[in-house]
């Protein structure tokens, strides 16, 4: 089973040179720490920054420069600032090559639920609904099962939906899976030491695989 850092590390392997990427709060934010060498990736933060850099040194902290998670950040060379309407215009126009976000549930047809749990305090959807409705390429980063062992990869989401038919790939502590256009989770890779049987047991939705020989994830 992967740690959250390893999940982020595995997601980073999906990055391609020149990609514009929006990273959600939580595990997705960690992806920035594992960008492969020789690959230029430009991070968009939906509060109005393209070209987000790493966290600042204490002496460089600027309260006027935060990311969408309200964390203090820096800007890379070549960064640009804009207002919130322009930021989501950029997102809706499909210019972001990859969107990585967390989820509470994903269904086998690519629906995602990640903003609301009935009976719990509703914090709001923030930019998640806009991101999932417009992104051409969405990777979900999450634990395969909840703390009490229930699968989060379902036939149908039970929680309120954030967006329909939008998730393309899921990277969990157990596996890398893609959502097939016709529905179903195709198992692409196993976490080191995790068996196909383990993944089957942890997946409520239909799990497909092309061969019995599913490769293990590779970390260099």
């Amino acid at each position: 089973m992967l740690t959250k850092f390893q999940i982020a590390q595995r997601i980073a392997q999906e990055l391609k040179d020149g990609y514009y990427v929006n990273l959600g709060i939580g595990i997705p934010t960690l992806v920035a720490n594992y960008i492969p060498h020789g690959i230029n990736v430009i991070l968009q933060s939906e509060n109005g920054l393209l070209g987000m850099g790493e966290f600042p040194l204490s002496e460089d902290v600027d309260a006027d420069l935060i990311n969408a998670g309200k964390q203090t950040v820096t800007m890379q060379k070549g960064a640009a600032l804009f207002n919130s309407a322009e930021s989501f215009a950029m997102i809706r126009s499909g210019k972001i090559n990859l969107t990585v976000l967390g989820a509470m549930e994903v269904s086998e047809n690519g629906d995602i639920a990640n903003w609301k749990v009935p009976g719990k305090m509703v914090k709001g959807m923030g930019g998640a609904m806009d991101l999932v409705a417009s992104a051409k390429n969405i990777i979900v980063a999450m634990q395969h099962t909840s703390k009490d062992g229930k699968s989060k990869l379902l036939k149908e989401c039970s929680l309120p939906i954030t967006g329909l038919n939008c998730v393309k790939k899921i990277i969990t502590d157990l596996a890398v899976l893609q959502v097939l256009p016709t529905g179903g989770f195709e198992l692409l890779e196993r976490a080191p030491g995790v068996s196909v049987a383990d993944i089957l047991a942890a997946t409520e939705g239909s799990l497909m695989f092309k061969s019995d020989d599913i490769p293990e994830m590779c970390f260099i």
């Binding site: 109005g48 902290v61 964390q71 203090t72 950040v73 600032l81 919130s84 305090m121 609904m129």
Partner: protein
Amino acid sequence: MINKIILDLKPYINKISDGATIMVGGFGLCGIPEKSISALLESGVKNLTCISNNAGVDDFGLGLLLKTKQIKKMIASYVGENEEFERQMLNGELEVELIPQGTLAERIRAGGAGIPAFFTPAGVGTEVAIGKESRVFNNITYLMEHGLTADFSIIKAWKGDAAGNLIYKGTARNFNPIMATAANITIAEVEEIVPTGTLDPNEIHTPGIYVTHIYEGKDYEKRIEQLTTKS
């Protein structure tokens, strides 16, 4: 030359009357109009409908106006940092309307651009779509959303001039420029008022036409929600 500078916020903030709808700039605590919020607190105005991306924290930003129960309704995209907010919402003391952040931004932009309605893909198939008209363009389903306007916008910029021109700094820009366009009266507070003519016209983010009054605030607290540094 036109002069929109005000030396005291109070008499202008006091014109915001009970039941008014106001837009309040900022994202989290970044780029919020600290001085105008303080003046609202002092004014004691009640039953406000506030349109703002967030609702502040318990002891800063809009959280201050929640504590004094001056806000009747909150229209926001994310309100997760505030216990008093939670308490009032669960008790039914506070109305809350949650809107996807991009839809909120575009509705404000539309309100300030004379666009009464537009279509967006955000929220299709979700609770947000309930009661809304949907429509298919090029095989994709969209929701119709309406422009948002307000009686007042209170916003924060970095620099400004007497003509009302504004420049923002960093990500403190966020909702401020679009809110400036969408209200009957826009009160902008800035860290520095510079002589008219010293801002490069090419670099102005908010043209003065949108700003009714401009005020130079002192000693901004600029509280940080998530201080995160490189080890």
